[in-house]
Every structure is written in C-alpha cells, then in structure tokens.
Symmetry: C2
Subunit: 412 residues, 2 copies
C-alpha cells in the first residue's frame, strides 16, 4: 500500500493536444498484462530527456541518447518485463529493431523513435513478441490514453502514477500531464526509472532542455528507495506547441516562470509518488537540509540519512532512534563538518520537535514528543548544518520486512 | 546464527605476555550482563590505533586520539550499552571521568588510559555506574581474560569474536591475540566498531603505527554489513615487547614480514567474524575485484556490490539475479568505465562460473550453474574490470528479514 497516494481518476488526467497514447498486451515476460505502450507526438513537437548515469546503461537508453541528438522525435515506445540492460550488442540490435518496427507502423523514420525498457536486467529482449504487439498498441492510440499508459508501464509498482496541471500562459490555457513508474532500484542519478511529462505549451528547444534538467534535479534526482541507481532511468519532457501560446523564448519571462512552476510541480508529484509506492514502504520521509555551504553537501547529508538502513528500519519501527540520524550526518562525507553547529528537528503536520543541537540531544527534547511524531506516516527530518545559505530536500521511504520479501521474491 | 563461525574455545586463545584483562557487570544499560572491560598493559608496551572518520565521532574516540598522541598508554577501558556519542560537552567530561577513575585504580595517570564505548547513540553515559563497576573489573584482571573480554564487549553480536596466532620472530615464539565486536552499523572507515589486537613482539613505534593502518585497511576497512559507518569505530594494536625478540625496526626485514602476516591474519579473521555475525546474516560474500586502475576504484566497486540492498536481498533468496550485480558495478562511480571489458564470476568452494562478459550475460552461462553456487552459504563474486593491475577484496553479508527485525526492535 502506498503512503498517502492514490492514482487519479481517468477523468482527472487531462489530454495534451498533440499527444496520443496506446497500450497492448505483448506477452513480453508474462501473459495477460498490458506491457507495451506507444506514445505518438504530432509534428513540430519538441522533446528533451535526461538519462541514467549508470555505466551499465541499457541499450534503449543508448539509442534514446543518439536519436534525441539527431532526430526529430515523433514517437516513444515503452515495454515492461525486460530491461534490455546488460545485453551487449544483441540488446542494441533489439532496441533498433523496435524503433524500425514502430517507424513502419507510424510511417516515420526509425531515428524519430525513442525506445524505453524496464524490468529484469541481463535477460534478452523478446523483440519478436514486442514487434508482434505493436499493431494493437498503435490501433489503441488515443488522446485520453494517459491513464492506461500509466498502468502499462508498471513493474513492481502497486499503483499507477500520473498527474495533470493546467496553467495560463500568454492568455492561453496550457496543460501539463505526466506519468511515471518505479518502486525499487530507485536512486536516480540525473533521471528516474521512467518518467514522461508532456505539455502543449510552445517552448524554445534550448529552454526545454534547461527545464528537463532543472525539473529532474528537484524531483526524480531527489528521491531514494534503496540507493540503487537503475540501468534504465529516463525522464522525458515533451512540448507539442499545440496550446498556441506565443512561443516562450525568454528564460526571464513570466510565461517561462509559470510553465516551469507547473512542470516542476508535476515532476515532483510523480517522483514523490514513486517513493510513496517504494517497495514495502510504510512511511514517507522528507529530509530537508539547510544551512549548507552548497547544494551538493546538503544533498549528501539528505541521501546519507535517506539511504541508511539503520535510519530506515528505525522509521519502520516508529522508533525515534535519533543517534542513527546523527551518525548518518557524520559519515555523509563533509570532511570539515563541525557537529556542534548542527541542529536536527523531527516534524509532522502537527508539530516540529528540536531533537539535537550542540553535538548532542537537545535539552528540551522529550522522548514522548519524538515518539509522537514517529507514529505518523509522513515525517520530516529537518537538519540545519549551520554553515551556509544552501539547502536541498530528499524524499525517502522506510525499510520494512516487505522490502526484503519483495526483493527476495522478485524474478522467481 | 553466524555464517560458518564459532567462538574459539577459551584454551585456544593464547595469553599475550604483558597484557591482563578483567570484566565486570556495571549495569550500564541492562542488569546482569558483563558490560565493562579493563585491559592493563605492562610498562614499555607500545600502542597504536585508528578511529572512525565519522564527524559525529564519539567522546571516547576524541579522548583516545588525544591520549594516544601524548600519553604512554597503560590501560584500556571498554563499556557496552551506551556509545557516549552525540553527547556533547557532557560526553567528553564523562569519558575523562572514566579515565581518571581507571587511573586511580591502577595508580597511573589519566592520560595513560584509552576509553572505548559502544551501544546506543545520543544517550548520556551513566558514568557513576561505570566508575562503581571498575574495582570489580580490576580485581578480575588476568592473563587468560581474552575469552571473557570478547564476551563483555558484545552488543547485538550473537557470538564472541576472538583469534590467536603464534609466529617465530628472531628465533623467539611470538603471540598475536585479538578480539572484536560488531554486527550492525558496520562499514568502518579507517577502523571498525571495536577491535583490539595485542602481541608480545618487540616492535618499533613507527612500524607499529604503520602496521595498524595496513592491517585496518585490508581487514576492518574492507567489510560492510549495512553501509552505516559508526561513530565509535576503533581498532587498536598493542605490542608489549615481552617476547624478548630483538626489536623489529626494519620494515624490509623478514621479522617484520612475519609479524605483519600474523597480525593481518588475525585482523582479517576478526573482521570477517563481524560480517559472518552481521545482523540477520545467512550468507558470507567475498567480493574480489581485480583489473582496476587503482585500489580505490576496486574498493568502490566492491562496496557498491556489497552494500546494494537489491544484491543483498537476492543473495538472501539464493537467487542468481546477476543484473543487480551489473547495475551496482555500473553506478559505483567510475566515470569512464567500459562495461564491455568487464567479466564477472560467481564462485563457491566447488566451482567458479563465468556469468557476464562483453556487457552482457556470458554465452556459456546456464541458470542452473548460477543457482547451484547461490545455494551455498559462502559465495565469491569475482569482478575483472579489465583496465589495470590493481585489486581489492570486500566482505559483506546478505540482507534478510532478520536484519529488519533486529533493527526495528533494537533499543525498544
């Protein structure tokens, strides 16, 4: 059960003019489940993406990078079941075969297709079954296909993740809709497992590329479930231009600011949804680190706390075992950190409790107050490093029996 | 239950001339358990230590560093139950009070005492109970006290860790005996939770300091249970000189080589014992990384594999989910890693199976062979990075339901 998250109703997911989505059952790994998605984009759509920094990056990620650099993207194709990662030369050939098959169906060029895969690593992609499933997915293409697509890209996810926003830009209503998937092997580095956000806004290509990086940085690149960076992380932002707003070209314009806010809001919600549905999660932790010299050291501290198995099991137990938080801050890798200047709070929606200061437990701290906060499902750990103006937020979940169960059982 | 490890019999632990150990029940945190140990060293003993790099290092670690730098160490005092970490100025005062009380009992100076604490972080040390327990520990001092001391320093350990070796140096028999503790919050950085090794060899102080760092590097600094670097890690090497061998002063001498081999052997066994008794461990993993440009990048890869919750849960399930190993290698942080040059083997005592090469699954690999190896309790993951002459080995354990249970319950 995800922590305070439910998939929106189909009617809450707003179509984006210029985008159609279709799904099918291709039997990639298991029968009788939708495991193939095609997203078709109108001509003149602009696309930008960020991808995993894992050196074992999947074959489709390599093809995406190449096609984004040279092609004018018209379609995305996504399969679950098999990640097509750690598959060598055959994997690359399979990803290219996939693009060629989509291109034939849609009468576009293979270089205009971005392929995405998610699932088991090191297994060959059953590309024949994928190709055989494409006609059904293409026949299924429709503007209100977001809800079905959000379901068809799931693997160990227990709920589909999707989000829509509208915003007025240059006097025109603009829509931003996105979907994402992922529950384990989640510590994205430059992107996440799979995230797709589309808007009908008209936006300059270089601004689109700036926005996809900015949005990834504060959303998918700020979450962790288990600290494992996937081989397939991809986050793609699409702007179709069909809203017919005057094209946004100035990064200092109010129009860009409004669109940026809406895109980041959707990306953050989708990223948080992954953590809320993290494998075995029972708690949603917001780790807000402030007072750092730079953003990078704040992120180090946030991730040290959010990835510590000892912190995560203490949260699972609702145990205010604060020493584990301090230990994680201490080993986060800030060589000249003065622990006497640090303050730490535990917070819920109802209260915030100062737990540590001056290198030790706060004099005002009472165990009952800490225990009260820890009983909640949504908990904020706020850390003031007391050495500068920078801050960063990381979202994480706890570590439960079910995490072990899910990952000891998966694949078998 | 530890993986293939049992505490040696008391008679297998050889006394070290010049070292006496005594234990007592001080009621630091719980009643009716031995939780206080005193180790007394004869005059002229030499001592060197390495300590945690955690910035929230415990008060006793700070006092140890200061006293090692200035004092001529004659005694060590170790309590369990409370770590005296994250305790601010009061913690430092409590550690100094402990040294003063030991010094009074043994008629030495407070600066000649090294204090060590292990247990819950952020709780004040009940120094009055500790001091009250000292006379009983001092009255208990004896040369064959190693077995009892190994038990008295345990916290979540299920077995006591101890090891003895003899080696001939300059025609004289020399003894090396050590004890260690630790089962969780284990990813030592320069040292481990607690490890104490003593020898009666006569050894130059600068060589002793070199040896403690060398031994820590390939033993306690090469293990991980959960990736959490403790606030209290300490590894101390003592040389009493009572074996009356000609003092070893030449690092190129056969005598130094022989002693070095014996000390490292004891340190490695003690470090491995911590992993074998890792919280909830059912498997012991040796991760041998070779073909790296330097030792540091080999260690990065070893730790990425040994700390990945996904790899660890797959080992718990005896599932040869090799993609998770490749993913961990890929995110280990080697920016220019060419995955096509990597080879990976899974091995047991009986066989070694090539599982991956050229960026994908090895053509010769059969799932049955991988499954056969994974059923064993002792498994080696060998990785050839194919880019240089360096190597490093990391030892780790799996991640089980019991890890979560132990850490969700601990403290409560």
């Amino acid at each position: 059960m995800p922590v305070n998250y439910a998939t929106p109703a189909p009617s809450d997911l707003l179509p984006v003019s210029g985008v159609q989505l279709g799904v099918a059952e291709a039997g990639i790994r298991k029968a009788n489940r939708r495991d193939l998605t095609v997203i078709e984009l109108d001509e003149d759509s602009r696309v930008a993406g960020v991808f995993t920094q894992n050196r074992f990056c999947a074959a489709p990620v390599q093809v995406c990078r190449a096609n984004l650099a040279t092609g004018h993207v018209r379609a995305l194709v996504i399969n679950t079941g098999v990640a097509n990662a750690g598959t060598g030369a055959q994997g690359l050939a399979d990803a290219r075969t996939t693009c060629e098959a989509v291109a034939r169906q849609l009468e576009i060029a293979p270089g205009q297709v971005l392929p995405f895969s998610t699932g088991v690593i090191l297994e060959p992609l059953p590309v024949d079954r994928l190709v055989a499933g494409l006609p059904a997915a293409v026949a299924n293409l429709r503007r209100d296909g977001w809800f079905d697509a959000a379901h068809a890209i799931m693997t160990t996810d227990t709920v589909a993740k999707a989000c829509s926003r509208t915003v007025a830009i240059g006097g025109r209503p603009v829509t931003v809709t996105g979907i994402s998937k992922g529950a384990g092997m989640i510590k994205p580095n430059m992107a996440t497992m799979l995230g797709f956000v589309a808007t009908d806004a008209a936006l300059d290509q270089s601004l689109l590329e700036q926005l996809v990086r900015e949005a990834a940085d504060v959303s998918f690149n700020s979450i962790t479930v288990d600290g494992d960076t996937s081989t397939n992380d991809s986050f793609v932002l699409i702007a179709t231009g069909r809203a017919e707003n005057p094209e946004i070209v100035d990064p200092a314009s109010p129009d860009y600011a409004a669109l940026r806010e809406a895109v980041i809001d959707v990306a953050v919600r989708l990223a948080q949804a992954i953590v809320r549905d993290g494998e075995g999660a029972t708690k949603f932790m917001t780790i807000a680190v402030e007072g750092g010299r730079d953003r990078e050291e704040c992120r180090k501290v946030g991730y040290a706390i959010g990835q510590s198995p000892l912190v995560k099991t203490a949260f699972f137990a609702s145990d205010p075992n604060l020493g584990r938080i301090l230990a994680a801050i201490g080993y986060a890798g800030i060589g000249d950190l003065d622990v006497d200047g640090i303050r730490v709070w535990l917070g819920s929606a109802a209260e915030e409790v100062l737990v540590a200061e001056r290198g030790g437990r706060a004099a005002s701290y009472r165990e009952e107050a800490g225990a009260r906060v820890m009983k909640e499902a949504e908990i904020t750990v706020r850390v003031d490093l007391g050495r500068g103006p920078a801050n960063a937020t990381v979202w994480a979940c706890d570590f439960s029996y079910d995490y072990v169960k899910i990952n000891a059982d998966y694949r078998s």
